[in-house]
């Protein structure tokens, strides 16, 4: 049986590179390199037990599993009404996904999607509307009017009530992984 002679190494074999110790950052507050930076978006979730009465507005995607009465405005973002969500409000968003209940008018600049089990009682203004087989809907659907035209849902931007959740847009940066 041939046995490899550990002492003899074949010619032209590249020598394995020595592990490179990562250089320590110049300071603890050095700006992260763009190619190693991870951007994480916060997922804002209003939980089942939360009740909000007032006007809710923001500039990030939002999922509601609680109760909201009043107005909801997420002009450039997606609003998801979860299966436990109960909304009695006028809604204005980029896109609205309904798995729970909405009593109120909905205006979306892109799409309204009522999923199986979802329920909407109100008027919808949106260029695209999808209604699943098991969804409930009562009201009108207008796919020609643009949201925001006179006569449509016009959420009014006012100071949010104390009970409303209104967080500024946040882009979270992951910390640099520690060197070993």
């Amino acid at each position: 049986m041939w046995k490899r002679d550990e002492a003899v190494k074949p010619a032209n074999q590249p020598t394995p590179a020595a592990p490179v110790a990562p250089t320590a950052p110049a300071s603890a507050t050095a700006a992260p390199q763009p190619d190693t930076r991870r951007i994480e978006r916060d997922l804002v979730n209003i939980g089942k037990s939360v009740v909000i009465k007032g006007e809710l507005s923001g500039s990030e995607d939002l999922t509601i599993e609680g109760h909201v009465e009043g107005k909801i405005e997420l002009k450039d973002n997606v609003l998801t009404i979860g299966p436990n969500g109960r909304i009695k409000a006028a809604v204005f968003a980029k896109a609205v996904i309904v798995l729970g209940e909405v009593h109120g008018n909905i205006a979306a600049s892109e799409k309204v999607d009522i999923r199986d089990g979802g329920s909407v009682d109100g008027d919808i203004v949106s260029p695209k509307v999808a209604i699943a087989e098991g969804a409930h809907f009562r009201g009108s659907v207008d796919m020609q009017k643009k949201p925001g035209q006179p006569g449509q849902v016009q959420p009014v931007k006012t100071e949010p009530s104390k009970s409303a959740v209104a967080s500024p847009p946040v882009v979270a940066q992951a910390a640099q992984p520690a060197a070993h």
Partner: protein
């Protein structure tokens, strides 16, 4: 998939109108909303009257149904361009059907169209009664429909005679009607 002859004439009648308002008396069907909303540019108002019928049956308030239907549709007079009744009238007795027909004639614009399907098959004594089922009419295209049934609180009522249909929808007039092999009569009113 079943053929339909009247639906094509109904959609042609709505084509070219500026922002036509369509009243759909059936359960909401996503595909139909897309068909009438995207392709014909309609604003669609969905009023599922089958649920109202079921509620009156289960609450044993059928005697109140005609009065309820007289003002059920919250629309102004002559404010609707088209009405899709599908086969809803098959599930109404004559007083209820008359009340609803008069109400729909009132909300329909003078140049509006109304499409309704009427069953013509009356089971003879001894024949088994058909099951109590509503039908969802899913528009495939202007010449074809798909049918999906679901439970109803009661079955179809005795079919209406043609003269009864003409009278209950006055002042609307029947402009087209087609008798299909399925014993369904498709009637277009203007």
């Amino acid at each position: 998939m079943s053929p339909t002859k009247a639906l094509a004439r109904f959609t042609v009648g709505l084509t070219g109108r500026a922002a036509p308002v369509l009243l759909d008396l059936g359960p909401v069907i996503g595909g139909n909303v897309s068909f009438f909303g995207e392709r014909l540019g309609c604003k669609i108002v969905v009023e599922d009257l089958a649920k109202d019928i079921d509620r009156h049956v289960t609450d044993r308030k059928l005697a109140e149904l005609p009065r309820f239907l007289e003002s059920r549709i919250a629309r102004d007079t002559e404010s609707v361009d088209g009405v899709l009744c599908w086969d809803l009238f098959d599930f109404l007795d004559k007083p209820s059907a008359t009340a609803l027909a008069h109400h729909l004639a009132r909300v329909l614009r003078p140049d509006g169209l109304l499409l309704a399907f009427f069953n013509t098959h009356d089971p003879k004594a001894g024949e088994p009664q058909p099951p109590a089922l509503y039908t969802k009419h899913v528009v495939v295209d202007s010449g074809h429909l798909q049918h999906r049934t679901y439970a109803a609180s009661r079955g179809k009522q005795k079919p209406f005679q043609n003269r009864d249909i003409q009278k209950m929808f006055e002042p609307l007039r029947i402009t087209d009607q087609f008798l299909l092999k399925s014993h369904m009569r498709e009637v277009l009113f203007r």
